[in-house]
Symmetry: C2
Subunit: 343 residues, 2 copies
DNA sequence: CTGAAAGCGCTTACAG
DNA sequence: CTGAAAGCGCTTACAG
């Protein structure tokens, strides 16, 4: 089945050739390419002209070998890839990171962590095959990434288990504030019996969002009108909505901790003859197809998830360059009002 | 803001050290690592022991430079990344490709194509920085990727504009068959007034799915009960459903060309007092959160999208290795029956 | 500001 | 089956 040859490589210009064309040494050509300040304007122009003429692109392998950098950042993906990619949240973070990367010299590689043999993955990372790693998800309880962070720049997009130490860099959103924003909006709309569908309460984000809902009610002098736990999926949201209704504590609004859950919950509300927003106002979190695609579309807290991905990438690049930066970066958010909370 | 140093690199073992430890030359150690057949069992064992002992991982840059391969495959992402990643379909293809890649020596890099300066991206690709490229999307009308395919192994996940030439390798699903499968199921359920919400009709897939719906009706001796065009989004599906209802041609079933559109359409059906499946049976395409998260869950044609991504990766690897393979790979599909078409 | 030279860590004909 | 040697295409002190 083998063919003669994998398509004869066409002509690929080399640094030396560019240098010759520009009438300089390859050292100088290299300096121009790498933006060294110690080169004449004129030389720069000549080299750039030569580069443009032959369409020169540096050979990454050679460059990386010589400079001992890889210009590569790994995005770590848990082995349960199907679940991971099913959540548009992660896709959006990846999108933001990839977009930011494209504006830099770094490229983003998807690296799936073997859960049976995490050591293999970690060795790959530690052995100089990437300049840094981005962690979006991890088996809670595992602290392997924390260890990795001691020998390699690592940026977390979720809070790793255990205490925050100085060695951890995290880019996150203020989940408590997000829930306050969404819930307060329901209060401002005059709703007084506000329920919630929470995220998984064994996650930090899930608990924080619930706390935001609860504290907002207390501050407004309102009693909670019910709380059910969901799992961030539409089906989970639908199930939680059913339990909420079955509990028979009347509610005129519900803060749902994710748009995916909200989209599932909407169908259940309708089935039970509850009109949105007339009977029940709905506010949620995440501005994506799940919040725009329902009827009516949902008021939501936009967490700027793509911006979070970009911020993670920006942070890892700065860490790689050896900059000294803060432990935590918070990504801003805002409320997007739609029909589901119209008066 | 600069710090002293980017964290002293810890000890990274080198091939030479592994070789010394095993008592062989680095040539031999290299052969063991690369699975050359011309090495003694004993030598292999000794080298592997040394590798395990020091936790050796080959330096990719050196390896790539010496072997003139990159072990990297680029997944091309259009510059409108937000739209691209919003569709779970693409995320699922990426997932499958990444998963397959992790079982090989290849790594998958996300490469965003600059649309203002596509030449820049293409030069990067052509200049030996990747071994192959995967194309999931492209501006129709552009034939640049076809040109690229003449100098670099390229696998398409969508049909490029223009004629299929021998130089094009494509991994796809039979969209016509998918629509036949879904529509025939509605016919088998005894529905006789079957409408459709199509995908964008300026795409090959959109037209093929519509043709499948239409031909199935003809074969069953049924008249079409209406057809509206959607755009693969929930909002687009909702709008199409509204038009379908407004057209006032009664229908008792609808084949919707994507689950995203179906999820939007479901809300509109309910609003209009149409019960699913009692009044209207719904069959769709894509087995993801959009088909499982609605109430009731949707009967759908599972296109095995992750398998498609894996097949794309498998195909590019074979092409890179110089194997002679067929122009087209079709990924199988199957029908998943759920409540939306229950009798 | 520029160049000659060494070296990054591997692979791979070439001999044996 | 194994080793010595050359070389992959860059970067980067080191001199000047």
């Amino acid at each position: 089945m083998k063919e003669s040859a994998p398509a004869a490589q066409p002509w690929i210009p080399t640094l030396e050739e560019v240098a010759a064309l520009a009438g300089v040494s390859s050292s100088t050509a290299s300096r121009v390419i790498n933006g060294s300040p110690r080169v004449t304007e004129q030389t720069i122009a000549r080299v750039n002209a030569a580069i443009a003429k032959v369409g020169y692109v540096p050979n990454r392998a050679a460059r990386n070998l010589a400079s001992r950098r890889t210009q590569t950042v790994a995005m770590m993906i848990p082995e349960r890839t199907a679940e991971f990619f099913a959540d548009p949240y992660f896709a959006e973070v990846i999108q933001g990171a990839a977009m930011y990367a494209s504006s830099t010299e770094y490229s983003l590689t998807l690296l799936i962590e073997s859960e049976k043999d995490p050591e293999k993955t970690h060795q790959f990372l530690r052995r100089g095959n990437v300049d840094g790693a981005l962690i979006l998800s991890h088996h809670s309880g595992s602290s392997t990434y924390r260890e990795l962070a001691r020998t390699l720049p690592v940026v977390f997009g979720v809070r790793p288990p255990g205490e925050m130490g100085d060695e951890i860099h995290i880019v996150d959103v203020d989940n408590h504030a997000a829930a306050v924003l969404g819930t307060q909006h329901l209060v401002d709309r005059g709703r007084t019996r506000i329920a919630t569908i929470t995220g998984p309460l064994d996650t930090f984000a899930g608990r924080e969002r619930m706390r935001g809902w609860s504290e907002t009610l207390v501050a407004a002098g309102l009693d909670p009108a019910g709380s059910e736990e969901g799992d961030y999926t539409p089906a989970g949201g639908a199930a939680a909505a059913r339990r909420l209704i079955a509990a028979d504590a009347p509610f005129d609004a519900v803060f749902i901790a994710s748009a995916q859950m909200a989209s599932g919950a909407m169908g259940v509300l309708k089935e039970n003859g509850l009109r949105v927003p007339a009977d029940v106002a709905v506010a949620t979190v995440d501005n994506n197809v799940f919040s725009t695609g329902t009827t009516p579309p949902l008021t939501t807290v936009d967490l700027h998830t793509a911006a979070k991905g970009a911020a993670m990438m920006a942070t890892i690049v700065r860490l790689i360059k050896g900059e000294h930066i803060g432990i935590q970066t918070l990504v801003p958010m805002d409320l997007v009002e739609r029909e589901s909370t119209a008066i």
